[in-house]
C-alpha cells in the first residue's frame, strides 16, 4: 500500500475529478462518469462519495440531472480535509515505528528524520486546495487515470 489507503486514493482522485468537471458551470456529474474518469470500481466509489457527501466535503443531488458537484467553499478546502475524513489524522501525527509516545525526550531512532517527512506531508496536504488543479485537468496536462 502507498501512503494513503486505496479508499483515500479513490477519494482524492474523485474529488479532483468532480472539482474540475463542475467548477464554474453549475453542472453535476454522475457516479458512472466519475468512476470511468478515474478508473475505479463504481459501487465502491459510490460508498466513498456517500461518505464524503455526508461529511459535506462534496455536494450532491438525487434525481434526473442530479449527481455530485462542489460548491465554491468546497473548492477552497485543503486536501488534508479529505485525507483526515477518510484515513484519519495518523499520517499527520502518527508514529513511523508504531510507538505510542513520540517525544523529544523518549524518541525512537528515526525521530528527527521522520518528523521532517511528516512535516513535509502535512505541509503538502494543507497547502494544496482541492480546486487548485482544475485548469491543468481541463486541458489534459494532468491525469487521474491508472
Amino acid at each position: 500500500m502507498g501512503i494513503f489507503s486505496k479508499t483515500c486514493e479513490y477519494a482524492i482522485r474523485s474529488v479532483f475529478f468532480i472539482a474540475h468537471r463542475t467548477a464554474g458551470q453549475s453542472g453535476r456529474v454522475g457516479i458512472k462518469e466519475i468512476a470511468l474518469g478515474i478508473d475505479s470500481p463504481e459501487p465502491f466509489l459510490a460508498k466513498i462519495l456517500q461518505d464524503l457527501s455526508r461529511r459535506g466535503i462534496v455536494q450532491s443531488t438525487k434525481g434526473p440531472n442530479g449527481g455530485f458537484y462542489l460548491d465554491s467553499a468546497s473548492l477552497e478546502r485543503p486536501l488534508s480535509d479529505i485525507v483526515a475524513a477518510v484515513d484519519g489524522n495518523d499520517i499527520f501525527y502518527g508514529c513511523g515505528l508504531g510507538l505510542k509516545q513520540c517525544s523529544e525526550i523518549n524518541p525512537c531512532p528515526l525521530h528527527n528524520e521522520f518528523k521532517d517527512i511528516r512535516n513535509k506531508i502535512h505541509l503538502m496536504l494543507h497547502e494544496t486546495k482541492i480546486g487548485e488543479f482544475n485548469a491543468e485537468l481541463m486541458n489534459g496536462m494532468l491525469s487521474l487515470k491508472k
Copy 2:
C-alpha cells in the same frame, strides 16, 4: 496505518533490538526477550523473524544458547533492506494516488510534491544503517517500546 505496515514496524524495531544486544560480543538473544524489549506479540514476531532469517537479514541458531543475532555484514546494511523485504519497494517507487504510470509526461496533480517526499523517504532509509543506533540504544537515549 502509518507509513509502514505493522509487520514492518515490528521488523525494524526487532532488528534494532537484536543489533544493539548482540553487537560486539558474540551473544544471541531469544524471541521472548526481543518481544518483551519492543512490546510486540511474541508469536507474530516469531513469524516475522523467521522470514528475515530466511532472507539473511538476521542470523539465528537453534538449541540451547541459541537465538537471533547480527553478523558484522548485517550491521552495515541499510534500513531499506528491511523495508523492501517486508513491505516491498512500493514506498520507494509507488504512486501516492494509485496511478500506474507515474511520469513527468503524464503526472497526477501531486507529482512534484510527492516525488520530493518519496525521495526523502528513500534517502532516509538508504542512508541509515541498521547498527547505527547501538550506542544510543545501549545507554537508553533511544526507545523501542510502545
